[in-house]
């Protein structure tokens, strides 16, 4: 239970960090941004400590040894929280926009809240023995690679949201204070593209790794199960975004709407698919 308590502490710190991200949006004192960083860093430390304890409990089952514990919904959501927060820290640290917290951290918060709720409703952190199909070294690679790409897409979604708000502000006759706090449209548009350009290859590589794993397990690279199909749809939508931006020169709102469609597919692939198919889902662990 200690790992659940530690995770709940991490979730509380993520919540506080998200609130500070919003405060920074309205009251641009650098101290809010700094404290947001500190809280997130401590939250990540708590989260890692929780994950360490959970890993020890997971490895207590001999078949699970040396595999990452993401074969349950709790584990997947927890890893997703860590991935979104981690990529946010990297993106924010690199681009120093400050304002991004209010647009990206709600996703990390949602994932953290979902994880905490799942832990509460299941009465623990869902430690299961790995099904035979999951006892492969690919278990430590394929889902994590995909999750990193999802997390970066989540960051891009936040940037896209900021762009839409900024564009709306600039179009209005009386722009609010927020307009002067948000970066320029061009900067946001470029960052949205850069993030998707980084995440898209990672997603496709993750999908290919899944295909190679499926070939090792069942002798088929592609089986058209719902998860595979929706990950392909996600890749196709982002491919449309990249083509329209790079070849047709789409910028601004149209490009952002396309990328948002892609992120809707990401969410459906991660969460929704579990409800339409038993295979390849965190809820069935098959």
């Amino acid at each position: 239970m200690m790992e659940l308590v530690l995770f709940q502490a991490a979730a509380a710190l993520y919540t506080a960090g998200t609130v500070l991200g919003f405060i920074y949006l309205w009251n641009r004192g650098e101290r809010w941004s700094r404290w947001m960083y500190y809280l997130l860093a401590v939250g990540v430390a708590f989260h890692l400590a929780s994950s360490g304890l959970r890993l020890a409990a997971f490895w207590a089952i001999p078949e699970n040894r040396f595999f990452v514990p993401i074969n349950s919904f709790f584990g997947a959501l927890s890893a997703m929280t860590l991935a979104i927060t981690g990529t946010f820290i990297v993106v924010e640290g690199r681009h120093r926009l400050g304002i991004l917290g209010a647009f990206v951290l709600p996703w990390a918060w949602l994932a953290a809240a979902g994880t905490a709720f799942r832990g509460y409703s299941m009465g623990g952190t869902e430690i299961h023995g790995l099904a035979p199909a999951l006892q492969s070294y690919w278990m430590n690679i394929h889902p994590l690679v995909i999750m990193v790409s999802y997390a970066i897409f989540g960051n891009a979604f936040g940037v896209g949201l900021a762009l839409l708000i900024q564009e709306r502000q600039l179009r209005s006759k009386r722009p609010q204070e927020l307009c002067y706090r948000l970066p320029s449209i061009e900067e946001l548009d470029n960052l949205n593209y850069r993030l998707i350009a980084v995440a898209f290859p990672i997603l496709t590589v993750g999908i290919i790794m899944g295909g190679i794993w499926a070939h090792e397990a069942w002798g088929r690279f592609w089986g058209w199960d719902a998860k595979e199909t929706w990950s392909l749809i996600t890749a196709l939508i982002y491919a449309v975004f990249l083509h329209m931006r790079l070849v047709a020169g789409w910028r601004g709102r149209k490009a952002v709407y396309t990328s948002m469609c892609g992120f809707a597919c990401v969410l459906f692939t991660f969460i929704g698919v579990n409800f339409i198919s038993q295979l390849h889902g965190y809820l069935s662990a098959r």
Partner: protein, 450 residues
């Protein structure tokens, strides 16, 4: 042909493919879950007929879906594979002069030295900054045009990644045309002929299954296989999920397992003592309680609404034995005993309807004959798919992770001893990502040519 090469057409094609995939994921597919298709057809006969007529119960194996994939492959080949990036013509000085005006990043300044000296200084500076520089042909003695680029390999990224998709699709086509696959259900100790390989037989000597304590879900299932060619052993391996036996390009994969319905022994337990039953033999119960014989084994029993016993699945989740009990002075009775519910027994009447009764004895254990579901797959297209996937990875890395940069510099005579420098820049990651470097380069060029 121009239509096939247009961005709109290709993006539209990708959208249609994505839509078809989405449809296929929501409508039950006959290849993956035929039982769900049956349920749908029974529940919605009209709409079921419509969907069946349109082939929507078989989206991913339908001719129109394959046509879409083929069209995608054709388009990619047309748009990318036939346009090698290295075959682009070199720009002349005149073209450099014209192209600078259309570049997203532009700068101009006056230098204090003659054009040739300024061009030489700029060339050295760019080389020191990691650019490869060449002089555009067609310049005169006064005017020098330079084309510089950095990370030129980036230009190959699009070509390689698109071409690799054609290779992946070709791999799928090779499997479709030349490959085959199927399933063999082999009981322990049994063997089965391998389809399309005359004389080959697959023998399964031993099947092993282990479960996690508590949840009861399987943690291991493995089959000890021997592949025989007219009695000669070609290969032998203990296979499990993720550990197949592969010979040539023919692989044998552990897919599923279950109970055949046959059994070797069963142990009945009662306060008077235990008795071990064998198939086909009646056995006396201890304490003079009569005789029992076993008629049928159901590995996963369920009771239907009409009260009859039926098999829910082939997995031995809830095994039940139908025993015929001849108690002294009573009519023979048919009883169902459940291994996992020792406090329950069901009496079966003449119509086959079950009713719950107190168990006269318990089914303590049953040794079932299991079968192993082995999937055999011959996939000659897989190496192509892997090669395509690796090329895709390389192409994506080049395309998105290398920051390709190009500069065009035109140095022409100014007034007196001075020169005029015009420059334009392009980069693969958008002007914002290059602006700072471009401005810094401009400043340093101004310094070296002043």
């Amino acid at each position: 042909m121009e239509m096939f090469r247009s961005v709109k057409f290709n993006v539209g094609l990708i959208c249609v493919l994505a839509f078809a995939c989405g449809v296929g994921s929501f409508i039950p597919q006959a290849a993956e879950s035929p039982e769900r298709v049956e349920v749908f057809l029974r529940a919605q006969p009209f709409w079921g007929g419509v969907l069946e007529g349109a082939g929507l119960f078989n989206v991913f194996r339908n001719w129109w879906f394959f046509s879409l994939l083929a069209l995608l492959g054709f388009d990619i080949a047309l748009c990318k594979c036939l346009r090698l990036p290295g075959l682009e013509p070199q720009e002349s000085a005149e073209e450099v002069a014209q192209s600078i005006g259309g570049r997203p990043l532009r700068a101009s300044f006056m230098g204090g030295v003659r054009p040739a000296a300024a061009a030489e200084a700029i060339r050295s500076l760019l080389r020191a900054s990691g650019y490869s520089v060449r002089q555009a042909p067609g310049a005169d003695s006064d005017r020098v045009a330079l084309c510089a680029s950095r990370h030129r390999l980036q230009r190959w990224g699009s070509f390689i990644s698109h071409s690799s998709m054609v290779v992946i699709l070709a791999g799928g086509l090779v499997k479709l045309v030349f490959g085959f696959q199927g399933s063999l259900a082999i009981p322990e100790g049994g063997q089965a002929p391998v389809p399309r390989r005359p004389g080959w037989e697959l023998a399964m000597d031993r099947f092993q299954v282990e479960h996690y304590q508590g949840s009861g879900s399987p943690k291991l299932f493995a089959s000890d296989l021997r592949l025989l060619d007219r009695g000669r052993v070609l290969a032998q391996k203990l296979i499990r999920v993720n550990k197949p036996m592969v010979i040539g390009r023919l692989g044998f994969y552990q897919e599923t397992w279950g109970a055949t319905g046959a059994w070797r022994s069963a142990t009945l337990s009662s306060p008077q003592g235990d008795v071990v039953l064998r198939p086909g033999r009646a056995q006396a119960l201890p304490g003079g309680r009569g005789r029992v014989s076993v008629g049928e084994l159901i590995p996963d029993i369920a009771i239907a609404e009409d009260g009859h016993a039926h098999q829910a699945s082939s997995e031995p989740r809830n095994p039940a034995l139908r025993v015929r009990w001849e108690a002294p002075g009573q009519k023979p009775r048919a009883l169902w005993l459940l291994r996992d519910e020792p406090d329950a027994a069901f009496a079966e009447d003449a119509r086959g309807v079950l009713s719950r009764v107190p168990p006269p004895f318990r089914l303590a254990a049953v040794d079932m004959v299991l079968f192993s579901g082995i999937q055999f797959v011959y996939d000659p297209g897989y190496p192509l798919i892997v090669a395509g996937a690796l090329a895709w990875l390389a192409g994506m890395m080049l395309l998105f992770y290398l920051h390709g940069r190009r500069l065009w510099v035109l140095v022409s005579p100014g007034t007196g001893q001075a020169c005029r420098v015009l420059m334009g820049g392009w980069n693969s990651q958008g002007p914002v990502a290059y602006r700072d470097e471009f401005e810094a380069l401009t400043e340093r060029m101004r310094e070296v040519s002043s």
